[in-house]
Symmetry: C2
Subunit: 333 residues, 2 copies
């Protein structure tokens, strides 16, 4: 890689035809950050070239360790990611960071998409940092994220950190696609309850209690450990680790890295790594297939068929199930 790619909003490399894609992928593999940026932009926009991109990247599948980070706003995800990148770089890893921002369904863009973040690594050629929304992507985050991971894998990153904003269902789904999932909490935020609600407990491999210099940290750790005990997955299952950190001061970062390594070792030892990679691939295939079907339905949205059906449902002369059946019949024609 010739230089860090810092949150480019649009690629600068023009690629318009499928036959140009293999060259673009070759350039990304050779370390051209503009080629990497362009490929991720294609992913983000759900570009028509994506099938060609996916085909060109296929041989490099599974070469990166994918680490998910999630947690409520304000727990210190960006700071923790920043420090983790530093630690992984010190270990000699090439690191990709995807900050996934489920974009507004209405404004069509990620508010945080062009934020300037993690300036510390802006000049490090071994780090790619990219904020990404799923605007326009047919399969949503569930398809866009693994595809962006593939790009970074293809570009030679051996660790990819996927940071998701928030703890909603979409974020949980994205985080659950990682090999190792970190859930960040902070003392006194009522996060333990929120975590249960969002299904976070089930996906966390490592709980990071950040801002551990705050009051109430012991209670938070106790709550989490209680939840882990309640959700005990039985012998032969991974027991989620709990790590304390103060990321803003760089404290506990090595412990987080060690917990990730430990989980990685467990995955390999138990044949779970390949299982997770396959589960991720299955989710990606399903998301793409569903996105294709959604696009077919969406293509009817501006047509007279759906409008006519909706009018009939609104006036009470038919019901939505009958209308949906008619819509699907229309689709099959």
């Amino acid at each position: 890689m010739s230089g860090a790619e810092h949150v480019p909003v649009a690629g600068t490399t023009s690629v318009r035809r499928s036959r140009d894609v293999p060259l673009l992928v070759e350039r990304a593999r050779a370390g051209d950050p503009r080629a990497v940026a362009r490929l991720i932009t294609l992913v983000e926009n759900g570009d028509a070239l994506l099938p060609a991109v996916a085909a060109a990247l296929a041989p490099y599948a599974g070469q990166a360790q994918v680490v998910g980070l999630t947690g409520s706003p304000g727990v210190g995800k960006s700071t923790t990611t920043n420090e983790l990148v530093r630690a992984l770089r010190a270990q000699g890893h090439r690191v990709g960071v995807l900050a996934v921002d489920p974009s507004s369904p209405f404004t069509g863009g990620a508010i945080l998409g062009d934020r300037v973040r993690m300036q510390d690594h802006a000049t490090d050629p071994g780090v790619y940092i990219r904020s990404m929304s799923s605007r326009g992507h047919l399969g949503g985050l569930a398809a866009a994220t693994p595809q962006a991971v593939r790009v970074l894998e293809g570009a030679g990153c051996d660790v990819v950190l996927v940071e998701t904003v928030g703890v909603g269902q979409a974020e949980v789904e994205v985080a659950s696609l990682a090999d190792t999932t970190l859930v960040l909490l902070a003392p006194g935020m009522g996060d333990a309850i929120q975590a249960v609600k969002a299904g976070i407990l089930e996906i966390a491999d490592v709980f990071v209690i950040n801002k551990a210099d705050r009051d109430g940290v012991d209670a938070t750790v106790r709550d989490i450990q209680g939840m882990i005990a309640l959700g005990e997955r039985g012998p032969g299952q991974w027991r989620p680790q709990v790590v304390r950190s103060v990321a803003a001061r760089g404290e506990g970062i090595d412990d987080i890295a060690a917990a990730i390594d430990k989980h990685r070792g467990w995955l390999v030892e138990h044949g779970e790594l390949r299982r997770r990679q396959e589960a991720r691939a299955a989710a990606e295939i399903e998301a793409i297939a569903l996105g294709t079907l959604r696009a077919r339905i969406g293509s009817l949205r501006d047509g007279t068929e759906l409008t006519t059906l909706a009018t009939r449902v609104a006036e009470g002369t038919t019901d939505p199930y009958t209308a949906a059946e008619e819509l699907l019949a229309q689709l099959a024609r």
Copy 2:
């Protein structure tokens, strides 16, 4: 209605065949709260009887005014809903309340589903209150919520309040299905920024600044009014109202009710009410159609086809787009 239906977890009326559905709907129309509860449970569970339920309810479409309430946890949604119900009852309305809780994707249930809430109205026969999750519902919240609204419409409610927890994308979608959407904010919660992020600005017809006795309320009102000015929708468009309240003390509730009435009047005057009802019907039809397709794909999840494809993608011998195409071809067979 013979009595308030207070958050029943499961219906007590056994209905197993399509031909029993018309009788159940008849009983709901006659005011039997157990019949209403049973119908909403069918909706919630995505029951196989739903097409029959939808057909029986179709003639009563569009008879209720649908008011959405959304906002971050802690802004006082339940309290505000409670007070609004009191005000609407005083005006002689029959009121239905749906507290929609996007359930955990993993635990399969709404944590808040059996909470005891709004005790004030538990003995009022003109009020139905129901917490609802979308567990098991194929079309998700986008389909389940309008269907539950149809049940309450059928049961004679002329106002249905739909309260959603949180401000994620799913909640935004649900709220946007209302005739009138209230977005609740509280001073000093950084909600203005969050509102923009979640696309709330675009869907709010009325902003309620609750807890308006707190410090910072003027700044919050100013922020929101600035955002409204920025997002000005042009002449002939509705300009979102901003109302202050202290719901816990019953203050400002009449102003909220007045703002709802004003918006209702505007909708009718501009022919927008029918347009919104049709948009809601279109979204419902699409969600049901998509749910059907998702179920067809899901039926392949445990089969060998998707597993085989996922293995090939994980090992790099094919790419996810090609795999998705093969999956869809399989589906069409």
